[in-house]
Amino acid sequence: MIKNGFTQVHSWYGVHYRFIIRMKLTLIMIAFAFLSVATANVYSQQKVSLDVQRTKLSRVLKLIEESSDYYFVYSSTNKNLNKEISLNVSNERVVDVLPKLFRKTGLEYSISEEGLVIVSEQQDMHVKGTVVDRDQNLLAGATVRIKGSGIAKATDLNAQFELDVPAGTILVVSYTGYLSQELIIQKSGTLTVTLLPDDQMLNEVVVTALGVPRERRTLGYSVTQINGETLTQARENNVANALVGKVAGLDVTSTAGGVGSATSVVIRGASSLSQTNQPLYVINGVPMENTPIGFGNLNPNGNSGSQWDNAPDLGDAIGNLNPDDIENISVLKGAAASALYGSRAKAGVILITTKSGKGTGVDFSSNYVVEQVMDRTDWQYVYGQGVNGQKPADGPAAAQVGGSSWGAKLDGSNVPQFDGFSRPYVAQKDNIKNFYRSGHTWTNSLALNKSFEGGALRFSFSDLSNKSIMPNSGLDRQSFSLVGTFEPVKRLSIDTRTNYIIEKAKNRPMLSDGAGSANYNAVFLPTSLDIRDLKPWKTAEGNEIPYNTGNAWDTNPWYAAYEIQNNTDRNRLISSLSARYTFDNGLFLQGRAGQDYYNNSYTAIFPEGLAYSAPNNMVVQQTRFSDINADMLIGKSFSAGDEISFTPNIGASYRNTKSEMTINQGTDFLVPGVHTITGLANKAVGYVKTAQETQSAYGTLEFAYRDVLYLTGSARTDWFSTLATPGMENKLHVVYPSISGSFVFTEFVNSPALSFGKFRAGYAVVGQATNPYQTALTYRLLSQSLNGKPLGEITNTSIPNSQLKASKASELEIGTDLHFFGGRLNLDVTWYKKQSDDEITSVTTSNTVGYDGAILNSGSIQNKGVEALVSGVLIKREHFNWTSSLNMTFNENKVLSLADGVPEQLIATSRSGVGFLKNIPGKALGQIMAYDYKYDDNGDIVLLDDGSPDRGELRSYGSAYNKWFAGWNNEFTYNNFNLGFLIDGKFGGKLFSATDYYGYIKGLHQATLERREELGNTASKFYENTANNTSYRFVNDASFIKFRQLTLGYSFPAHLFDNKIKGLNLSFVARNLFILMRRTDNIDPESSYNATFPGLELGGMPPARTFGLNLNVKF
């Protein structure tokens, strides 16, 4: 029964008023006479039967009056009563019939307890409201929805909304990062809605494709949103690392690349055979290119994951962002969520919204953490440096076999070492700790907010200063951000954002191979060599003092750290401008343009004193990159009555990406010690220029039936320049459709336990484009010439493909969101199945065909999985809360097919040469391949003459990709204290350890202790054969559980500071504290030397634990 307290009775009712009172009295008497019901509300049980077709409402009311004791009071001049209606009810309570009767008549009614029904014209209340947060900051763009319908409105820049709604309407006000609030409108007027932060991470409103915030209940797919605050407490220099363990379906792995290195983020399993599996990052609606430098983008100085790289990890784009500027991160996991990004969405999309001006005030934060190296090695310390079981005879002999731990038993005697000095022959177990130093990162951020009539401004500055645990290495980053939001004329909103980043990375460490790599040489130093004795690392003339003259590529680690230089300076400007105009009738028109522009300067110096001969003594590389994205969108919401609404949008976008790179390099400094590019005796120049364009058109149609059923369909078409081939009429475009729906079934189920429940399903096709210039054969001239003759070569390393088409992936996902006990316990489960087809793959070919690979366009992969998030408030007391969430993911992937003629696809080769990463049809992606024992017909192991095993078959030992992921987040609050921790784990993946391999070769591995005495001077050859012929032993189980994060904080109340400070929070923070479980002997289970694929490692940075203090102050 609808109760109304605010219905205003217009003066013309007065005419009938006295009559009504009389009637009421009569009715009461009748009621007492005929019904022996003791309650006052006897009429409510009266039932009627009606069957009317196209009958005037006034006539129907009469019929009811005739068959019941209800009386209707209305103005006879009300035209709405002349509306014709049809109704068929049998024996229903009048109170239930009335809503059906008055629906869509423009009339409202009220029933008195005595059965008197007053019918009046429906009157809309005029409500004007402001949405703010707890600190009275204005929330522009909050959604105000009429409950029971799909009709919604957003607050303007002043956080205001105006609505005309019938009395009794319930409004649902929501904003991303805050708990939704419902309020009942009883009267016109002005109100202020205060939203509370969403501490339970219910994420009732999330940012969806094209940056549109939507209520989660409307979505037919899974979206996880992370609030910016969670990224800045216990920080990571690369913000993507902070996502680890926090989102179901996400596999986040930082490489062992040291300072400024890239992070691998794989959503719902790797979906590409050999192209990037990294998601698209979209910053405030503007896509940002994030392919790791060196992978498929022609940068010769980046890390491509090849065994021969011997290059530093030059980082990725996401790592440049300042976490303090991030308002929230929204992870669009499935194709249905990301379909509107078409060809860029195959690996998922991560939407980043940066902070905009909110209120007026100053935020300051300071974070200082120290970093400590964690030694993961567990080498043998029984035998020392030397060969053939003997101690070195003299200095030069020791130096010649300087990298070998095949010496005699450590006996404490004085033994000559590489530098000719004799030192005690004892175990040196702390070389890792003695080489790496204690690092630190200090981050200071200041943000100024100013809100004013018609807009808001936010300016922020952040400075990050990092001293790496690697000696002489570090990272400095300054970020400036200016965000302005304006409403210059009514209903025109303008949003402009500029983010300027200056990043200087000093001496990113070389990875993988030994040449110039401090990591490699520190980890493989012989057992009896103290790394501190490798100082001084150079002679007075500046020449390296090598510890292993037998292999000049084993660089003295100190020399590698202090003399070899590689510095990166990057200036990046990410800017966007968007304008949106909403017409009177609700039609909106939105235009947006953004550019991601950077200048990257890379300088590397390999000094003349280096023992090994570097390919170049100096490299100076300048890269200019520009990615312009522009789009427009036009749309309007329509409603059919108050129950159905639909919103069509259409749009188009344009992308233009250009890059230009100049490389100057050469050998032999003419004046030793003066390292300038013009001072090289032999110079070479390289120049690379690329351009590509994508044009897209798209449309969406959202349909809502009340607030119960939501359907969204979309289609996008992309036209690619990268598929164009001279002389070919290739199809240049692809259509990507999607459909998804959400059904809120709790609107029909009345369960005290289940407070909210929805069922959702989505299906979409998304894709992946390709790099430019893969369709034609090209030639180039080297900078060098021979006796005046130019030297030409084929540019392509892969066989070009003149008939490329874009690859596609289709994905079905089904899931449910359930909230129990008013949101105390929440469950979000999704099942998905994704299939990628027409894969554009670079297949590794035997180079006997002239090329290392071929660009092919076939092959399929399937990813199936389940992801679940259980979260809840386990304890909720007045002073004490415990919020806990557990996310779990299971992903199973399978290569369904490869291109014809490619039975197996080689992805990468371990530097050891005896471990491989392959794609094999029928098996999961990224199989680790290694050699098994050779067995004879009797099943016995075949041995070589020296008793070492012969080489058997190359077998697969499982996928490099983990199958199970879990993250357990906990947050405790007690009065002003808060304590949080995160434990995460990954399970089921394999990792080929080249560190273990070299442990065998160099005599460091514990397993080489066995039979060493017995084998005598053939022990090293025996174990070398064992390592080379039975490399399966280096396949590690990469499963682990890590205690990832700990925070303990205290919020000082404002009154302590006379309210001059609004808030002050001081926390102890720590990351990567312990490993709770691992199955690797000498390496970190998360080791990898590139962000492109997992599974292979060598010479990476050892992991570090960080801990320190975080201070947040609001003025």
Binding site: Y779, L786, N787, K789, G850
Partner: protein
């Protein structure tokens, strides 16, 4: 109003579609590499220069020259000797990533460009001579590949682009040789003095007459390779070359290197032997087998050896007061190391008086802008001498031998003036050392000559074919051959992991003697 909105929709949609449809026209232009060339505007002569250069070794730090020519062939053939621990060939140790080096670089840097040139110029009159010179060069390239490994991809090799091959069948060495000889014969016949200038030719500067002589000498080398397995074919092809082979040292096929291009253009052997990559300058020496052979006949070519060239392992600047006195020259024994076991320790060897006292290659031979010999007049004459000795064809064996001796002495001047030996001294030596020992003597001379040409690939092949010189094998702990001199490089195991897995397996299992250092190639019949 609603109608208006729909109108706006439709008009915008139409605009978007039209705009996009119109814009894709320049996509071909956008997707054309603005920096590089396409097949239609590129001169294949530029790649021919590269293919000629890379036959002398990889642009990537003499990669396979170091591993195959020096570390393995040079020491196994006891031309060179070393104590450097990773010089596996000196001790017949198996280091798979060294034995695979030649294959990896040859297909990538030699086969790739040469096949492209042959295919790109096929049937094009403006490239007639380039096409045929490239076919001869292609035969040169594949001959060395198959000599080192046996059955190798040949017919499908390098055809990734033109035939869309993702894998390449391993062809029988017998079939490869048959085709190589046919290719050379046809190409020589098609070379045409009146046709195009081979502007990219860095060996003969487009001298077609020299190309024809070079072609015939190559045909001679390849034909003689078959003496153990198909003497008839060998003889038949040798007969085709009589009177048409290289005439003098002036016609030697060689590549002159240049300093300014660093690793790309500098002499490959010198990059290694000057100590660019380690302490090779100090620890790699002439083998005592070789030096003793020169000394035995007072060979004036002892001039290739000098002592006290480097005085310390850490100092790569050469001592300018090196010792050239022939009497002071001393080769280092093979199979020695720097360790303690007196059986193998170099300092336990009676010859040891310190490393500077062992003979190094003359600095004039290992200049960064020095020459790499591809095929010489002396070699050609030695093969003709052998043919005459075997079959009595092509003139007098003794005079061919004498020509070879003289040319093999005087050609050293092409390295450097400092190595020049007068014609008369050469003639005196030739007269004093006439051919008396038949094929054995010719083959020993072939070994000496190719050692001085630093072409150990060729030394090794000829030793395998003729069995001369008779070398005493070393027996070092952990060697992979049971103390026998290796006869072949095993196939690269990377082939098993890659797209050639099936072909590799078949070929690997078919190697007589096994796919290891002791297995044999087809023409090296036991």
């Amino acid at each position: 109003m609603k109608r208006n909105i729909w109108k706006v929709y439709h008009v915008s949609l139409l605009m978007v579609v039209l705009a996009l449809a119109g814009c894709t026209k320049n996509f071909v232009e956008i997707n054309t590499d603005p920096v590089n060339y396409g097949p239609t505007n590129f001169d294949p002569n530029f790649t021919f220069s590269t293919a000629q250069l890379t036959y002398t070794g990889s642009t990537d730090f003499a990669y396979e020259t170091w591993r195959a020519n020096l570390i393995y062939a040079g020491t196994m053939m006891q031309g060179m000797s070393t104590v450097v621990s990773y010089w596996a060939g000196d001790k017949y140790l198996l280091t798979p990533w060294y034995t695979s080096a030649y294959w990896e670089r040859a297909y990538a840097e030699q086969v790739k460009p040469i096949v492209d040139i042959v295919e790109m110029t096929r049937g094009k009159d403006q490239y007639k001579n380039l096409h045929n010179a490239a076919r001869i060069w292609k035969a040169l390239i594949f001959a060395r590949l198959t000599d080192l490994y046996g059955d190798v991809p040949y017919f499908e090799a390098g055809q990734g682009y033109y035939q869309k091959k993702l894998s390449a069948r391993y062809d029988k060495q017998e079939e490869i040789y048959t085709d190589l000889l046919k290719e050379i014969e046809e190409s020589i016949a098609n070379l045409d003095e009146g046709a195009d200038q081979i502007t990219g030719d860095i060996v003969y500067s487009s001298d077609i007459a020299k190309w024809k002589r070079f072609g015939h000498s190559l045909m001679l080398r390849l034909a003689m390779r078959l003496t153990k397995v198909n003497e008839a074919t060998a003889k038949a092809y040798v007969e085709k070359t009589i009177g048409k082979t290289l005439n003098s040292n002036a016609e030697n096929a060689l590549v002159k290197h240049e300093v300014s291009g660093a690793r790309i253009t500098q002499n490959r052997n010198s990059q290694v032997l000057l100590g660019d990559g380690g302490q090779e300058h100090y620890y790699v020496k002439w083998s005592d087998t070789f030096i003793n052979a020169l000394k035995a006949t007072n060979d004036p070519r002892i001039r290739v050896a000098v002592t006290k060239l480097y005085l310390s392992p850490d100092e790569t600047d050469a001592n300018t007061n090196y010792v050239t006195d022939p009497a002071s020259q001393k080769g280092m024994p093979n199979g020695k190391d720097l360790n303690n076991n007196p059986l193998y320790a170099i300092n336990s060897d009676p010859s040891y008086t310190g490393f500077p006292d062992y003979s190094s290659p003359h600095p004039g031979m290992i200049k960064r802008d020095g020459v790499t010999f591809i095929l010489t007049y002396a070699e050609s004459e030695l093969l003709l001498a052998e043919a005459a000795e075997r079959w009595g064809i092509g003139g007098n064996a003794a005079s061919h031998y004498a020509n070879a001796l003289k040319a093999g002495i005087t050609f050293l001047a092409q390295y450097d003036e400092a190595l020049s030996i007068s014609e008369s001294a050469a003639a005196t030596y030739a007269t004093a050392n006439p051919l008396t020992g038949g094929i054995k003597q010719i083959s020993e001379q072939y070994w000496i000559h190719q050692n001085t040409a630093l072409n150990f690939y060729e030394t090794w092949s000829n030793w395998r074919r003729t069995g001369y010189p008779e070398l005493t094998a070393v027996n070092y702990p952990g060697n992979a051959t049971g103390g026998q001199i290796p006869r072949r490089f095993p196939y690269p195991t990377a082939e098993e992991a890659g797209s050639n897995a099936v072909y590799y397996k078949q070929a690997s299992e078919a190697v007589p003697g096994g796919d290891n250092l002791s297995g044999r190639v087809w023409w090296d019949k036991q």
